[in-house]
Amino acid sequence: MTTLTAKDKDAVRTFWAKVSGKEEDIGTDAVARMLAVYPQTKTYFAHWKDLSPSSPSARKHGITVMKGVADAVSKIDDLKGGLLTLSELHAFTLRVDPANFKILSHCLLVVLSIKFPNDFTPEAHVALDKFLAAVALALAEKYR
């Protein structure tokens, strides 16, 4: 879509500094919400014993995903290059339909809105929405 401006990157880094320490909670909540609100996403996890939003597998996955997002923040100046390996993983092994990146991004934003009602201003929202869209694009880079 668009490139991230210096202002966007600053806004993302500033907001992410506040997130520090809460990544696990945020990740698990976002994945739990994704499974609850968009049940079609459960199709990717048929191998889990327990598909409920609060299951240990869901929690673990939330943490994994969030580590990836945090990593992306540190690589914000070159998402395509920085997320190359993750893109190959999603393209060749996981084969997640990229439409789902939007879904998870939305759930993440909902969680941030709940946990940081005062910091998640409209300005922070647009920067993070752009950032997550850029991450999604970088993840889909190797798909075809």
Partner: protein, 147 residues
């Protein structure tokens, strides 16, 4: 026809009974105009929309946000036939306002985020699912009379 569980009906009724229309409506519309600036195309006569601060402080945005949110009241009262409830509004948005129906989803995402901030931890995954299902039905109904 859309099937609603008791939980979903109760959740929607509860959210709207507590709704602060003059806070949530303006905030949701402002966020939509800020996060998805192309939506400003429908508000050429709203005056100053130059930046986030201007949008958030714009009285026309505030008034319209409240109007839109109250527009959902009829659906809340007629959950078993939202499609019919919004026939005229759908025609209006298509024939007169010429709004791309994709925009309804953008606004509904912003509304979800604002309501989430309001309700905090009460906005659980299950509540979010009910709320988003309700908005999806509204969005679908509003897009039905487009030809």
């Amino acid at each position: 026809m859309v099937e609603w569980t008791d939980f979903e009906r109760a959740t929607i009724a509860d959210i709207f009974s507590k709704m602060q229309y003059e806070v949530v409506g303006p905030a949701a519309l402002a966020r939509c105009l800020i996060v998805y600036p192309w939506t400003q195309r429908y508000f050429g006569n709203f005056g100053n929309l130059y930046n986030a601060a201007a949008i958030s402080g714009n009285p026309m945005v505030a008034k319209h946000g409240t109007t839109i949110l109250h527009g959902l009241d009829r659906a809340v009262k007629n959950m078993d036939d939202i499609k019919a409830t919004y026939t005229e509004l759908s025609v209006l948005h298509s024939e007169k306002l010429h709004v791309d129906p994709d925009n309804f989803k953008l606004l509904s995402d912003c509304l979800t985020i604002v309501v989430a901030a309001q309700l905090g931890n009460d906005f659980t995954g299950e509540v979010q699912a009910a709320f988003q299902k309700f908005l999806a039905v509204v969005v679908s109904s509003l897009g039905r009379q487009y030809h």
